[in-house]
């Protein structure tokens, strides 16, 4: 066993990574470089504020359309609205396609911070600023959009230059072959130990690739497509999304997928060891739990 760990240390060092042992026998590996950690937290700040200011902007026209044009008189794929009643308080509705759902209290109609009924789409506690202000929402959105884009660009350049993507994110042939096993492990909420815990698993790799190279860039591109100035310089941009309103809808759907990713990401952090995961994203050091020796199994 001692020999094994020594071998692993050598292996880690060979991959350009520091590793050390703690007093309690756990092995610490240097998992995230300072650059990656900084980029991660800047990205978190940006994504949270972009989402919240984005919902503020959405509230100014709480409808989604498909194609080139779309306003209140046109059909909508999604719409959040308040419906006044002859008697009693208004009802908040979310319409998706042909169906509508009563969402009073959360979407469409909700109690404002001061307890007054408000008829906005997304409630105060999820928008920046919390009160209705399209002008301020846009200021926040564009500032953090620039920070987000520049941080993302630096991260992608670093990721390739430092071979972080090639080494840590690119799935190996072994990964692809064992994808079924990884899906099963995820369903059983089983987390890797020992040697396997030093690398991302294949679902993790594919998810990060999808977020870094598809979802986040798609946010920037669909965001830019909503700009009339950009559209005049790059008329092919709205074309590829079938129109400005389609780009706006894709912007919203992609944001929803990113929120979904964040939920799963946080859930996995909680399930796989909150303090260890937090430490690794703050200090860089990640503790690898030793291989579990299961009775009756001789498999390595």
């Amino acid at each position: 066993m001692a020999l094994d760990i020594a071998d692993q240390n050598i292996a880690e060092e060979a991959r350009g990574r520091a590793a050390r042992k703690t007093g309690s026998g756990k092995e610490l590996i240097y998992r995230h470089t300072l650059f990656v950690r900084l980029a991660h937290w800047i990205n978190l700040l940006c994504v949270v504020l972009l989402l919240m200011s984005g919902l503020q902007i959405f509230n100014a026209h709480p409808m989604l359309h498909w194609g080139i044009k779309g306003d209140e008189a046109d059909p909508s794929l999604l719409s959040i609205y308040a419906e006044d009643q002859v008697e009693g308080p208004p009802i908040g509705w979310v319409q998706i396609g042909d169906r509508k759902f009563d969402t009073t209290g959360v979407l469409g109609v909700f109690r404002d911070r001061d307890g007054f009924l408000s008829g906005r789409a997304f409630p105060w506690w999820i928008t920046v600023p919390s009160y209705q202000s399209l002008a301020e929402g846009r200021r926040w959105h564009f500032f953090f959009a620039w920070l987000f884009a520049l941080n993302g660009l630096a991260f992608v350049i670093y990721g390739f230059a430092a071979r972080h993507f090639q080494r840590d994110l690119a799935p190996t042939r072994f990964d692809i072959r064992n994808i079924g096993r990884s899906i099963l492990d995820h369903l059983k909420l089983k987390h890797a130990r020992g040697e396997a815990a030093k690398r991302y698993n294949v679902l993790q790799k594919l998810t990060y690739i999808a977020v870094i190279f598809v979802l986040l860039p798609l946010m920037i591109v669909t965001g830019l497509t909503m700009s009339p100035g950009v559209d005049s310089a790059a008329p092919w941009l709205p074309e590829i999304f079938t129109g400005r309103q389609s780009a706006r809808t894709i912007h919203f759907v992609t944001a929803t997928l990113i929120v979904l990713f964040v939920f799963v990401h946080i859930l996995e952090v909680l399930l796989s060891g909150f303090f260890n995961e937090m430490r690794s994203m703050i200090t860089g050091w990640f503790a690898v739990r030793p291989e579990k020796i299961e009775p009756g199994r001789s498999e390595p």
């Binding site: 080139i68 008189a73 046109d74 926040w140 005049s232 309103q245």
Partner: protein, 259 residues
């Protein structure tokens, strides 16, 4: 294991508390002048970034087909200016109305609607993007702003074109709520920047800015001043209104609305 569960719960509660702090912090930051100025820095990046691409080649906004025109084109902001003077103009079908052109020009001019309609015109079917998020398509006919400015002859120190309008969104008695807008010379001389007197083949309707409105196709709707009475060339707009270059700009919206 129990210990860990509690800490997880503590972490969750902590995260929710932090969320609440962030929210109230954001509101306070949003109203803090220094922070506001920092956020406004992004507008300069938007302007510089877009002008890098837009300035040299002056690309045109896409023009659409007749079949693309919106059945209902929403009229936003003022839909019927208050006041006896505008009412009189509507009743007389703008027959004695004149578009004034002044400020930093060598030849201050005034044109009647008939005179404007007799000038070389441009018709374009374009997409109108509101800052709120919706888009509508309409057909606009008007005289090129560059044609008007060429006749008035800008003085060398003219940097911006200001549009003075008849509508007062705040119904102010002292004129402090009168709509106005400003664009720079890059947009003023763009080949699609027109003073439109017709929409979808009809005389420009009152809700859309009769007798004449600005179309500056590579920016958002609030730049496209309706009910324009006077065009002024200026060196700077810091002494007009609250000094931000337009009615909505004075109320927190960006001066550069290309995004």
């Amino acid at each position: 294991m129990t210990r860990e569960l509690i800490t997880r719960r503590a972490a969750l509660v902590g995260a929710m508390g932090a969320g609440g702090l962030i929210l109230s912090g954001c509101d306070r930051l949003s109203q803090n002048q220094t922070f506001q100025r920092m956020l406004e820095g992004a507008e300069k990046l938007n302007l510089t970034g877009q002008r890098l691409v837009l300035n040299s080649s002056q690309p045109l906004a896409r023009e659409y087909q007749l079949s693309d025109i919106s059945r209902v084109f929403k009229a936003n902001g003022t839909v019927r200016p208050e006041g006896d003077e505008y009412r009189r103009l509507v009743l007389t079908e703008f027959s004695d109305w004149k578009l004034q052109i002044g400020g930093l020009v060598k030849k201050p001019l005034a044109f009647s609607l008939a005179e404007l309609k007799a000038m070389p015109s441009r018709t374009q079917i374009t997409r109108h993007d509101c800052v709120e998020g919706w888009s509508a398509i309409g057909q606009w006919t008007g005289v090129l702003l560059s044609h008007l400015l060429a006749q008035a002859e800008l003085m060398p120190n003219a940097r911006y074109i200001v549009f003075r309008c008849a509508d007062d969104l705040l119904n102010s008695q002292d004129g402090s709520g009168l709509y106005y807008e400003s664009i720079d010379l890059v947009d003023a001389f763009h080949p699609q920047t027109i003073m439109a007197y017709a929409m979808n083949g009809q005389a420009l309707p009152v809700p859309h800015g009769a007798p004449i409105r600005l179309r500056v196709e590579r920016q958002l709707g609030y730049k496209m001043a309706k009910y324009v009475m006077r065009i002024e060339a200026v060196a700077e707009f810091s002494k007009i209104g609250f000094g931000k270059g337009g009615f909505w700009e004075d109320r927190g919206y960006e001066w550069y609305a290309g995004i």
